[in-house]
Symmetry: C2
Subunit: 505 residues, 2 copies
């Protein structure tokens, strides 16, 4: 009998999304392989004759033939796609050796400093889905705990850039901005981009979608226009408009980061080294030459103390300089949400109000956007130091920023239907008469998120008051908007437990 | 409409063994809950009205109604058993808060020293399956990296003991022994127990089954007798025979350890703090008062340097003393396998040969067992210091140890059929004439494991030569035994890549 048919199993797609981890399913009564023998060793290697590199997967044992029968090898969606073969193909299974780079992770756990080659090996193995989630967790915790030395952050950044594509805009100055996040409503990019582009400076902004926040720039821009654009279209738009506001996922920019996030977020790990490498690798891959980093500081922000913010700034500067980026860092006020809306539709509304110079426009969002845009405009050698802010204000107040935004929306493809805030609405009122003394960023983000943001564009929170406002007992502090019954209940229940507002009598 | 029926899903058992992690399956098109909304937050809480504590699970999104339909909530085998309700029950899903003790894990990652309450909280949450695997990995790496201070190891040990049952033998002196592992064939317990019990000292040995080694004491004893005995039966046997050789899994002894192992092993994490806490918590829970710890030292053993062995000894002593254990540590020669057989049947054969004083009995196994038994016999106040070894030898050579073993086997329930070494057999020969200069423990264990040990009792490796032996070119060094075609191929292929033997010409 032929070796290969005797020992092979029929490939089967098991329609389970295991969220960034390859999982293989083997029936407990498989007659070709012993599921128990594999179980303790945990990871298997799947090979198909003549199909190149094997795929590694974590093993789950199945007791239901309807999911994976004894002669079959089930693969979760990601693993099945990675193998890229039709169902029924003959596949062989073997005990997997741990990925080669895992030795480096163990050395890091033991407190060693790793080199460029180590980080290159680790990122390559992760991108090729050779790491299980527990192995990624081990890597992340090892990096967080003894901390990465700044040279290590540089190596990791460069390895992450090398893990994917790199855009080239063919321009000597390509501006970009990035906020480290954590402040709900903080949608300054959608103001900075039209202001800077109206000045003629290229600012091709590619953003991610929100992962644990209630809205990312891509989610919010999508309320107004198409954001999933192929790299060639993007290039054309930037060539003509000087700016864009697009989703970065269509290009494979530092893809290892997207995989690590699947473990970082549920673990709430956000160590400085990983954060800097993650942000700078995306920006380097996106082709930026000049970058402004916004670090909000406040009691419920990601960075809570001025001294931590300064340390983080130095790390950004070190890695930016060594990577040939012109990088500047601003520390901003992060003690409460920026703007009024939290969630894509509500944030897009705020942005458009600022652009239209609407009297209801949130002053804090306008002011912060002007500050940031001013700093970026000063990247232009022809703009005198200190004049950026006034220039940004002129561009905004003259209506040129609004025109530029409309042009960018038209170029990317305007959204046909007009989206409204979620139809389910509850107002959360002040428990007493007094002054709003604090608004908890984390709490407001969680409530908006539970309400369905960013999946439901209209879901979120609309703030009626900010810190320092006087409020009466029973007066609404904010409204929760949702589209979906279960989400609405989750959000209202969370607001009831803790509204996120402190009102002092 | 009733709140509960509107928002509930029908419980469904999904027959997938996710190996110590609760997994919930939700259809992507579920109309009651948004699978995407849960996905990023990763963990869900499953509640059933009137059913007490909720169950936490990691979420997988399903695109196949045959696995989990839109109105259903699928649960992996462990999660389904934990909820303990019939299929079709109405269950509600909510966003899970991270387990409370995870804050302590983050503090540990940040380099803090944790207290007794922290370890109690962590072990309780793990035993209640509230930790995902990545959270357990974070805990283990955090403990390994900055290391646990010895007070922390003590706290962790005590928390682990408290996580389960504790046996009480009603005796003032209850002896036990434990080897930290890593040396194939090292089946001394099956000799030490009959020798010590024949002397009249209680030694109720409960062991685990092998996890990544080719045989545990429970796996090997099972070749001769029943090992899965309810705690009451065990007590009766020990009362009469003074000893037993049973599987510890029937009593819930330090169950948190069994869960942590599911992450430790695939990560190959075995930090000194975790190892000491794991071993001592099991022994304390098993009711031992006097304990001998065997630390083999050698280039392919778990502990490779004398100075590491001494450090580990101090840690065992510190925690043992503070826990009220009389504990002694012996450092033994771990530079090659002990005995000839590796795998349950082959190791049981070696043990019986020593007990029967068979001329083919492996001298090294006999000698090591006598050394260890001698040390334990000296726990008896009536045995003069230094006389234990001679006493042990007398018990063995007089045939009293064999008689005791036969009595224990009879009491536990002898195995009816006689098991033989695996029918598939290949001899691995020496590539040259010369002297065996080294045998790699890890390699031999892996080959025996791939051959099917310990699942197939007869599978494993039978060594014909040990370090120092002269061998001729083409002379067999060892035989691989297997029962199962695929396993046999894996083992032979591994031996071909690296036989594990060094022969110097």
């Amino acid at each position: 009998m032929d070796q290969n048919t005797t020992h092979s199993l029929q490939l089967r797609r098991v329609a389970i999304d295991t969220y960034r981890e390859n999982v293989a399913y083997l029936n407990r009564n498989c007659r070709v392989y012993r599921s128990e023998g594999f179980q303790a060793l945990n990871k298997v290697e799947i090979r198909v004759e003549g199909n190149g590199a094997p795929v590694l997967a974590v093993l789950n044992v199945v007791d239901d033939d309807a999911i994976t029968a004894p002669g079959e090898l089930g693969l979760s969606e990601q693993a099945f796609e990675q193998l890229a073969l039709p169902e029924g193909s003959a596949a062989c299974v073997a005990h997997a050796q741990p990925p080669a780079s895992l030795h480096a992770v163990h050395r890091k756990i033991a407190g060693e400093r790793l080199g460029r080659d180590d980080y290159t090996g680790i990122t390559r193995d992760i991108v090729e889905n050779r790491y299980s989630k527990i192995e990624m967790a081990a890597f992340l915790v090892a990096c967080a705990e003894t901390g990465l030395e700044r040279e290590e952050v540089l190596h990791l950044t460069q390895a992450m850039v090398d893990s994917g594509e790199r855009l080239n805009w063919g321009e000597p100055l390509v501006a970009d901005k990035h906020c480290i996040g954590g402040i709900p409503g903080n949608r300054t990019s959608m103001l900075v981009v039209p202001i800077v582009a109206a000045h003629g400076m290229p600012i091709p902004k590619t953003s991610s979608r929100a992962i644990t926040s209630p809205a990312g720039t891509a989610d919010t821009m999508e309320v107004l226009a198409e954001v999933e654009l192929p790299p060639d279209r993007l290039k054309e738009i930037v060539h003509i408009q000087r700016g864009c506001l697009a989703w970065g996922g269509t290009a494979r920019l530092a893809p290892v980061d997207d995989i690590l996030i699947s473990v970082e977020r549920p673990l709430s790990m956000d160590s400085p080294g990983q954060m800097v490498a993650s942000i700078l690798s995306k920006k380097l891959a996106a082709g930026a030459t000049h970058l402004l980093i916004d670090i909000p500081v406040g009691p419920t922000a990601k960075v809570r103390r001025q001294q931590d913010a300064l340390q983080l700034r130095k790390l950004f500067e070190f890695v930016g300089d060594r990577s040939g980026l012109h990088l500047e860092v601003v520390l901003t006020d992060g003690h409460q949400p920026i703007g009024n809306g939290i969630g894509p539709v509500l944030e897009a509304r705020d942005v458009m109000r600022v652009l239209r110079r609407d009297p209801q426009a949130p002053a804090d969002l306008r002011e912060k956007a002007l500050q940031l845009a001013g700093r970026i405009l000063e990247f232009d050698p022809d703009v005198r130091g200190g004049q950026g802010y006034a220039l940004a204000r002129d561009i905004l107040d003259s209506g040129r920023a609004l025109e530029k935004m409309q042009a960018i929306v038209a170029a990317q493809g305007p959204r046909r239907e007009r989206l409204e805030p979620g139809r389910l609405c509850r107002k959360v009122v002040s428990p007493r008469t007094g002054t709003v003394s604090a608004i908890d960023n984390l709490r407001m983000a969680r409530i908006a998120r539970l309400a369905g943001a960013p999946m439901d564009k209209g879901a979120g929170v609309d703030l009626y008051h900010k810190v320092g406002d006087s409020v009466k007992r029973g007066e609404p502090l904010y409204a929760i908007h949702a589209e979906f019954e279960a989400d609405f209940r989750f959000a209202c229940a969370a607001a009831e437990r803790d509204s996120g507002f402190s009102v002092e009598g």
